[in-house]
Subunit: 307 residues, 4 copies
């Protein structure tokens, strides 16, 4: 198994990758961008890619995944959640007050700014291309900075000295990552699943989204994420990127998506896969498999009588 | 073929019956009430009943039809529209100004009151049990009244003399009638059909009807009639009596009703039948049979890949 | 106070009238039809009319009320519920088995048919123009029938002998009546109110009713009755006759009706009045008067800042 | 006037800033992150900030703006659209085939990868902290790279030599930027406006978003952007970040937002401001100012009659 991922080694993305089954023994191939990681899969240079799906310190963007999925038919087969927490590290142990320069990515620096002002007020910020690169830099070129701010994983991998941990200004942040692969078997239903779809909307009228959501509502289907995006690049027509609670194997998901397909036949199915939080699906009696079966049997009997 | 109908002979209901195929040669059995006409069908004393479905001069009530349909499983197999127009008749020709008493049903009198005040101001109203009975009365007992107000059909059947016609205060009224029979073959689709259903609603909450209508809306199904009624007789829970534009043989009707069945499994199908006005069904592209087929094929293919 | 009502004396309608405040001492003016009762009000021959609003044994029809309300601007100012129960009466005491003929209205006969077949199988049905007229007939012309089936009120008023009571085949039926008067003060809010409106719908399209109901749904307004009807008489365009739970004095009712007015500016307000069943209004927190006030204050503050 | 913006000088963000009225003569203060630019406004070190609102090559994130808006009450007062196009530049003129190393931001590199592979296949990618930094680097330290890929603005500002232009793999991309300032006067209505709000949703149930959208639908309010996001950082409850077509000064926007306020009283208004594309607002007759006025007058008259 070969995994491409948004590198360099030691990122939060690699931490997400390590949650995937068999990841410890898999080949892990870092890349310079989300796009590169996905391209490796389409080019058969990797079997799957792990990339951030929501905005994060490392900048992963759903839009990229969407674009590649459409162009190259990638599907999502798993997701992972990684707590976003930072450490201040140095190559050798040293007192905090001696730290005069700190390398990290500008997004990372923004997330620890208040801590830094309070704790290491005289330290200068040295921009790096990623938080992991900043950590690697401490060993490669000690003259660049006295310390780095990075993810715990890279500190551990490189054997760096942790001067301070959990230094993020806002605690509790979690970023979501997905595994993307070429279309193949859809993971089986677990009872705690998500389904991701892209729904283009030809026209931009007040009721457009409502018409789509009514198909979800009448089938008791909850969305756990929705984002509108411009399609192509004219800022004109747009599509919705949506995560649904449930699995395409369920009648209620199948019925809702069939209804949306009638409105927007270019809808793209990007995968059904287990939820990282394993929260079991609640299904009301009117959208249970039994309710669908009973309704189907009733209609079939009625239609059997047509002259 | 034996037809029961709301009599006596010469009513608007008989006029509706005469619109049914083969009615001329059928046995026509007048009854004293809508309930009696329907009961004859359930007792196998008639093959079908013709009764008014909307409020009319003769008082037919949907509620009665609903009650009998549920208790005895009658289905609707046809509908007819009859213009409601009245004539003033007498047994022998006579000048209008000599008419001092006019027999008719109180509902009929109410519908010609302004004409009567203007044209025969000195004539007294003599109540009769129906407009047709008033007409028959002129021949049976000339002492009851000088003239009668009734439907054109009975005047023609009895050879009465028409003193004035189209005397109704509001012109253009039309009443709808249906043919009810024991469940059997559903009339085939014509492209201009109606479907009648009864939908019980267990709870009386703000969104209850909305949830039902959303299934119609998402399937492009139009209602041409809706009436809420108390179920049973506690004035508490209620049901909706609904006419839909379309035929159970259409995917969009079947899909909508299957959805409503999940919410309200005691829904009753009362029939799919040709529209009396023969207005062809308009169907949007997103609810065409082709759209349903394409959606179904897409979902089936997706589900074929589940591990 | 002068009340017109659907007569003759002793009907269920008079029983409803007697529930109105001050009815005992008011002048009670029976009429031959719902239309006549309403016309007396518009002609200033009565101060208010009491008429059945739902289909009943005596045939009152909402459509008539609607028509008159629109043409002559009558409003509803009260409602009453009357249990529908029948008695078999005779002029003098006599054994049940000696009853060979029974006078009543055909609708009344239909409602006791099973009881009659089981209890007085040899009795012949003699049609009368109303159940009350049948009762009066026993005293006026004893040759017409041995007994009559009528409402308890008329039996009591005429001092007739009750041979059997509660003889209706279906027990528990209740009919609703309303008091209609010329527009004047709207009855004050009681916390258990109804509001009646007529909503014309210019076009007959799948989403038409939905658009109206969304205004009710977003304001937490429940309907306790809805009926679609053809407007005028071409069976084409139609309107909805609707009862809402609540009073025009409430923000949620006012906001919902204002929204409907934008879609259908010919909407007619027919009155806000206390519910006969006195069931108190339940109002969710998001549609409470406090929620409306807070929202209004927020918007006003925001708009105060516009340059 | 002092503008902070996501720097360094020469970015697409500065290009957006230059579209603001009076920008040419304003003080332009580059910062290292979106967060820093916004913080300068809250600290009164700048009068307004210009930041990317959608994902772009420079990584601006709506989430950051949302967070700061809530914490520090910033409002949006303008938006700008900037075409995303890249140039390949060098310090001195040189043939393309001599370019062996190219500095740029990794996101920028991803967007020109196909062009680079086809045109300068032997050139090595040298990561920089931003595309503008790469351009500046050519003058500051010629040893880092032979060329840089950057926005046209910075090439022009630094007098660099353009070796190739419009080299992006996907043409036509446009990024949206906003101007954020402390709450003050809301820009006046132009007839082509947007309103941005944040709507927290306490519970994650199937109908939650529908309930909000119904307020938009009943008021004819179109959304041009919607994104769901986790609130705080437990990945649990979430909010919607929404752009509406229209201005808070319009009745339809005010009415819709008042309705949403009742469901979600913690809704945040982030501003009404002119659309960058100047597309005039289309308003249906049922949500025109006249329709709102007429509805309001009708309700006020009705309520004036309450006893």
């Amino acid at each position: 198994m070969r995994y491409s991922y948004l590198g360099p080694p030691g990122t939060f993305t690699e931490a997400a990758l390590l949650q995937m089954p068999g990841a410890e023994t898999a080949q892990r191939l870092p890349t310079g961008s989300v796009l590169s990681a996905l391209t490796m899969v389409e080019d058969d240079d990797a079997d799957a890619a792990v990339v951030p799906i929501e905005n994060s310190v490392e900048g992963g963007v759903t839009a990229t995944l969407d674009a590649v999925s459409v162009a190259h038919h990638l599907h999502i087969t798993a997701e992972a959640l990684v707590p976003i927490t930072f450490v201040l590290v140095s190559a050798e142990p040293r007192p905090l007050e001696t730290v005069r320069s700190i390398a990290t990515h500008s997004h990372g620096w923004a997330q620890v700014r208040r801590w830094a002002e309070a704790t290491v007020p005289h330290a200068e910020f040295v921009p790096a291309s990623s938080t992991a690169a900043a950590a690697h830099g401490l060993q490669q070129d000690p003259s660049v900075a006295d310390a780095a701010i990075c993810a715990p994983l890279v500190a551990q991998q490189l054997g760096l000295h942790v001067l301070a941990s959990e230094i993020e200004d806002v605690t509790g942040a979690v970023t979501r990552f997905v595994r993307a692969a070429k279309p193949g078997p859809v993971p089986e239903m677990t009872g705690a699943d998500k389904t991701t779809v892209m729904i283009p909307l030809p026209e931009d009228h007040p009721g457009g989204l409502m018409e789509i959501l009514e198909h979800f509502a009448t089938n008791g289907v909850n969305m756990c994420r929705i984002e509108s995006r411009p399609t192509g690049f004219g800022m004109g027509d747009y599509y919705f990127s949506v995560d649904l609670e449930g699995h395409i194997g369920e009648e209620r998901i199948a019925d809702a998506l069939a209804g949306v397909h009638r409105i927007s036949p270019k809808i793209r199915f990007l995968g059904s896969y287990p939820r990282a939080d394993e929260k079991p699906q609640q299904v009301g009696p009117e959208v249970s498999e039994a309710a669908f079966s009973a309704a189907h049997a009733w209609i079939t009997a009625l239609r059997g009588n047509i002259r």
